[in-house]
Symmetry: C2
DNA sequence: CGAATTACCGTATGTCATACTGAAACTACT
DNA sequence: AGTAGTTTCAGTATGACATACGGTAATTCG
C-alpha cells in the first residue's frame, strides 16, 4: 500500500488495539471488499444492505456500525478502486509517463466494471489525485511543457479516460465479447445500405471489430502526443 | 388543473385522432417534460413516481399508462436531451463541422445538468446517432481522412465530450460558480506548499479559475485539430 | 465479580416501484 | 337515446429498501 489515505490518526491511544466492550465481528475493509465482490458478481444495482449483511453473516443494522449510510459505503467502494493507482516511475519521456498513468487509471476502473459508473457521480475525489497531479505536472514541466498546458493536458486526458471507460463498460465489459460483436453485427445489418452507405460499407469494419484498447490508445495519443513544444 | 399545451399531432397510420374509450388526461410528452423539469429543480434522485404524479395532478399508477416502468421514463428523459441535436451544416472545413457537433452535444447535455449522469448508464443509444455518424463520416472522408481514422476520431471525441460533461457537472453546474471557485480556493489553501509546490504555486492559477468551456475546447482541439492528412 | 463500555441485531417506520382491480369516461352501434 | 364496448384512471395491496431506535450480548476494567 504505497499511499496512505488516512490523515486522521487518532491522537489518543494509538497503539492500543484492545478496547473495552464487545469486539467487532468485521472490519471496515471486509465490509467494503465484500461489497465490491457482490457488485462484481451481481451488479451494483443488486447491492443492498440486507443482501450484503446476509453475505457477511450479520444482521442488516450491523453494517451501520461500519458505515454511516449506504452512500458512504458506495463512496468507499469507489475510493478502493483507485487505492493501488500509482504514478509510473519517471522515465526519459514524460509522454510515456503520463500515458502510462492513464492507462493504469483505466485498467483500475475496468477491473471492476460494475463500479465504473461511480466515476460519474462526482463524489469520487480520487484520493491522492493531488499527489499524482503534482508529480506529473513536475514531469511535464521538466519536459518543457508550460504549466497551463500541463494542467489542461492532465484534465483533458482525465476526461477522455473517464468518458472512454464510461462508454466502454456497458458495451464490452458488461457482456461477453461474442455478445458484443453480435450486437454490432445485428445493429449494422438492420441499417439500410442506401441510407447509411458508409456505416454499412467501408466503416463497418472499424465499428464493432476494433478493440477498445486500441481506440483508447488512439484517442489518448491524440491528446498527449501532440501537446508540448513540438506540437503542430 | 392546467390544460396541456403540447402539440399532439399523431404521426400514426390513421388520421383518426379520436378513439373509443376514456380520453387521456396527459400526453407522453407532458409526462417526460414535467419529469425533466422536476429533475432540473430537485435533482434526479428526488424524482419518484408518486412525486411526479402529484406534480401532474394524477394518481401514481396513471403514469404507468404512459411508461411501462420508471426506467423507461428515465430513458425517455435521456433521449429527449438529444432530440434537438443536429449535425452542423457542411462548411468548407470538416474540423469545424465535427467540433461544432460535439460543442452542441455538450451544450445539450449541460442544459440539464442533473440528467448528464444518464450518459453513463449506457442505455442511451442516442437516437439518430447513426445519422450523425454517417453524415460526419462523409464529411471527414471528403476532407481526406481515412475511414478508420474518421471512426476513431468520432469515437474519441465522443468519449472526451462525455467524460468532460461527467467531470464538469458536479463541479460547476450543480452549484453556483462562486461556490465552485471557493471550493477550489479552499482545497488549494489546505495543501502544504512544501508537499505541493506546483499545485499551490504556478499551477494554482490554472486549476480553479479557468473556464470549463476553455478546457473543453483545448481538449477537443487536441483530438480533432491534429488528426487528418496533416497530422504529425 | 460487578460495572462500564461497546457492538450486535430484531423490530418499526416511511418510502419506493409496481401488480391488481374495479370505477369512470368516452365512442359506436342500434 | 340508450346500451355495449373500449380505454383510462386511480385506490389499495405487496414486498423490498434504507434506516432510527432500543434492548441484549460480549468484552474489559476496577
Amino acid at each position: 500500500m504505497p499511499t496512505n489515505a488516512d490523515a486522521g490518526a487518532e491522537p489518543g491511544p494509538p497503539s492500543t488495539a484492545r478496547r473495552a466492550g464487545r469486539p467487532r465481528r468485521l472490519t471496515i475493509d471486509t465490509v467494503v471488499n465484500e461489497a465490491i465482490r457482490h457488485a462484481d458478481e451481481q451488479g451494483l444495482t443488486e447491492l443492498t444492505m440486507p443482501r450484503l449483511a446476509r453475505r457477511l453473516g450479520v444482521g442488516t443494522m450491523t453494517l451501520y456500525g461500519y458505515v454511516a449510510s449506504k452512500q458512504e459505503l458506495v463512496d468507499q467502494m469507489a475510493s478502493a478502486l483507485f487505492a493501488d493507482l500509482t504514478v509510473p516511475d519517471s522515465g526519459d519521456d514524460w509522454r510515456h509517463q503520463v500515458s502510462e498513468y492513464f492507462r493504469r487509471f483505466r485498467k483500475a476502473a475496468l477491473a471492476h466494471p460494475s463500479l465504473a459508473g461511480l466515476l460519474a457521480n462526482g463524489r469520487v475525489t480520487i484520493p491522492a489525485v493531488f499527489d499524482h497531479l503534482e508529480t506529473l505536472l513536475g514531469a511535464m514541466r521538466a519536459g518543457g511543457l508550460g504549466t497551463e498546458d500541463a494542467v489542461r493536458l492532465f484534465y483533458s486526458s482525465l476526461c477522455f479516460t473517464i468518458g472512454e471507460v464510461q462508454w466502454e463498460v456497458p458495451r464490452t465489459h458488461a457482456q461477453s465479447p461474442a455478445a458484443y460483436a453480435q450486437q454490432w453485427h445485428d445493429l449494422l445489418a438492420a441499417l439500410d445500405p442506401r441510407a447509411y452507405p458508409l456505416l454499412t460499407g467501408p466503416a463497418a469494419a472499424h465499428l464493432g471489430t476494433v478493440s477498445s484498447d486500441e481506440q483508447f490508445e488512439w484517442g489518448l495519443a491524440r491528446i498527449i502526443a501532440t501537446a508540448g513544444p513540438h506540437r503542430v
